[in-house]
Structures are given as C-alpha cells and as structure tokens.
Amino acid sequence: MDAFTAGQATAWIGTAAKAVAEDKERLTELDAAIGDGDHGANMDRGLGAAREALAALDAAGPGEVLTKTGMTLISKVGGASGPLYGSFFRTTGKNLEGAEPGLAELAAALRAGLEAVQRMGAAQPGDKTMVDALSPAVAALEQAAEKGAALAEAARDAADAAYDGAQATIPLQARKGRASYLGERSIGHEDPGAASAVLIFRSFAEATAT
C-alpha cells in the first residue's frame, strides 16, 4: 500500500496553481455566464499564494501542507470560493495525521473536508455547486480504498468522477450562490466551482501518478 507524502501534497497544490493559471480564462467565462466573472482570477491569486507559502514550509506530513493551503486560501481569496476551498483544504489537512497516511486515511480526511464545505455553504449534491464535483471525487477515492487500489489509480478515478460530476451540473438549475439568482437561466452552463474542482482533482492525479 503506497502512502501520500508531504512532497506529493506540495506537488498537488503547485500543479493545481499552474492548472488554474492556465485555465483562468475559461473559469472566468464560466463564472461570467452565471456568476460575476471573478472565479478564475480569485482561484489563481489564492493558489498562487498557497504555492508560495508552501515553498517556505518544511512540513512533517501532508496534513500540514493542506492545512497551510487552506489557511492561505481563506486569507487571500475572499468571495465564496475562499472560505469554501479554504475550509476544504484546511479541514482535510487537520484530519490527515502522520507523515505518510495511506489512501483510506486520505479519503477519510477529504470526506471531512467535503463535509466542512457542505456545512459552510449549506449545499447538497444537485444544487449546482463545487459539491457536485467534490462529492463524487471523494466517493471514488473511498471506493478505490475499499478495493485496495493504488493511490495513483484512485486519484485517476477521483479526477474522472469530478469531471463527470462537473459535466452533470450543466443541465441543473442553481440553488446556491450567485448563480441561484438566475433561476432557470442557470440551466445549460457548467458550474465554475465544479469546473475548478475538476482542475484540483486532475492536479491531484498528476501529482500522485508514478
């Protein structure tokens, strides 16, 4: 059973920062369609700051890396995505003990992170939010852990599940956040928070692929 290390966690956030920077325009366009068009810029600013903060961190384990990431997002991003992604990483990190936790421990910590997001945003799957991508990704990791899959394979499953979940937000009507003001006019657009969650889980797969 392979373990999740601080190095991989740091690579994850660095890869995510790069992926969001490269896809900033698309996130902004998705957000302009049903929100206010700042999601790309905000996530870019936040993850860029997190990558910088991690460069100066000598972490004992991946939990510390993710906690630091969450704290940085909370203090740098603002908007709704700051507290939400911030709480996701911070709570995941706080629940991830040891220098090299295994896949089951990581899945459980991410589940706690997802629950923190849902508590804060009062969002359920199907509300057309980031939860629609995060939730299937975490479930995929849990299933992979039960099967005894390798971390790299589990991470690929999670990224695929996040993508499918984000695509499934397109026909939904938003019930949370600014998109909810649109009512039926939110139908037909991919949720930008779900889209950024896909980038984050694809980065996770990339950072753990070996």
């Binding site: 302009a32 709704a80 700051g82 507290p83 600014r178 909810s180």
Partner: protein, 332 residues
Amino acid sequence: MKKFLNTPDGYLSDALAGFAAAHPDLRVDIETSVVSRAGGPVRGKVGLVSGGGSGHEPLHAGFVGDGMLDAACPGEVFTSPTPDRFLGGLEAADGGEGVVLVVKNYTGDVMNAQMAAEMAEDGGLRVRQVLVDDDVAVEDSTFTAGRRGTGATVLVEKIAGAAAVRGDDLDAVAEIGRRVNAASRSFAVALTSGTVPSAGRPGFDLPEDEIEVGVGIHGEPGRRREKLRPARELVGEMLGAILGDRPLSAGSETIVLVNGLGGTPLSELYLVFGEVAKEFGKRDLAVARSLVGDYVTSLDMAGCSITVCEAEPDLLELWDAPVNTPALRWGV
C-alpha cells in the same frame, strides 16, 4: 476596455491611495485594505463597520466618518473581503462598546464576515451582524441564496450610525439597523454592463436596445431581459415590484433613494426620481426624505436602482442627524 488605469492589478491600491490623498481625515491602510477614522475609534461609542467587494464606491469607504461608519474594509473588485480584512475593520472600529458589522447578503460576504466575527469574538470583541437583503428582484426561497443586499445598505449605515452616536448600546444599534433593512425594498435596472478591470471586457452582453430588469450590483443577471421602454413605464414596474413585495398604506412616510449604478448621468436619475414622485402622488404616499445620486454603484454600469424605506418618525430623526463623510454630508 477604456478606463483610467495604470495597470489592472494596481486598480484597487491606486484607487485607495487616491482616496487617502483626498481625505486626510481618514486613515487608509492600503496593505490591509482598511479605511478608518484618522483619530481612531470613538471611546464609549458602539462601532459600526461595513465591508464588501470594491467597485461599488462610494460604498463603503465613502461612508466612514462622523455619524456613519467607523471603518470599512473593501475587498477586491466584486469580491468579498477575506476574514482577515473584515477582522481588521472590526478591530479598527472597536471603541470598547462592541461593534456592529453591516453585511450585504451575498454568499461570500456572509461566509467571510461570519469567520471574522468568530475570530473577533475569540479575541474578546463583541460583534453583532446586520444582514442587508433588500433586493426584491430575487425571490427569497430555498431555491436561491436569498435576497441580495443593495441600496438599503446606505440607509442602514446612516441610520445605525446615528443611533451609535446617540449612545445606543450594541444590541440597540444592531436592532435599528435590522429595522431599517426590514422596512426597505430595492429594485434595479441595467442599461449596460459594467467592466471589471482585471477581466477587461463587459461582465455580460446586452444588445444596444435591451435592458436587464432586476440586475444585481455585480452585474448578476436579473429577472429577465427586455426591450428598452420609456422611463415612466420602467419606474412603474420597479415600484410595482417594490410596493408589491412590501405594500405601504396611504399616508406612509418614506425615504426614497434613486441610486445610479456608476454610468448614469445625474439628470437621468432626477428624471427617474420625478417619475417616482408622480407615482407616489398617485398612491397617496409621501416622500419624506430623498437621496439621488451614485451611492451603491457597479463600476461603470449604466442603470439605476430605487430603494423605498418606510420611515417611522424615530428613523427619520436619525436620518436627519448630522453626518460628515466623503460621500454623505449634512447638518455639519
């Protein structure tokens, strides 16, 4: 995009630097993005703070001063301040009697403000939050994030600010703020989109002859798009939505704000106010106090919002109390 800019990234800090230069009686901390009184908080008075995304100027920093806010914490353009920034505002306003934080009902603002309030209370500062949600264009239901906070924010900040000066305690100031919000309803129409500097292009596409009815202050689309119509018809519909949601009995006294969204000439706003006054006459409602101008803007968006607040005599008295801020000044 045509704007007075040096670089899009420097937009906020350059604007704050200019605000600081223009208003030496205010302290502007560009690093932490907190605007407060140069003399520090008023000892023995309940503090009043508000914050939110930038791009709505003069809201909120333009309302810092005697009789209104003790501190404001602007966020990035159209983005709620982070908890640290809200916390900086709360601490700057603390005169020992607790602080009331005015929050516009947007998902991000509510979350960041809540985190900041908890952090402040952990540090021993008493905080009460007043949530402003006056925009009737959004149906308040479990299917939305709830009504948005818009024009009524100015009324809440002015009247709660006067209550704090009068010597009301923390809970009483918060209660006055909540009463003003409960008595207020707003509705906005956009003629054009605003342009966020970092995005470089309009937030939404609106054909030359179309308007967005029920638009939000970040350019969130509203109830629907339709062809431009004469002002009297639009005002009739806006007031219909406002008074339909909170009917007023004949003879009620009101404070009416006709607010520009940033790109509308004052003459058009007065034209709109004229239509409001006619409509009020027909309904036997009295405009006790009026305010016409750019107070809660959406960058360079052309359009306006109407806010109607039913004002009982004690609220009118607080409205009339002296105020001395960059954007609102009377009785001094």
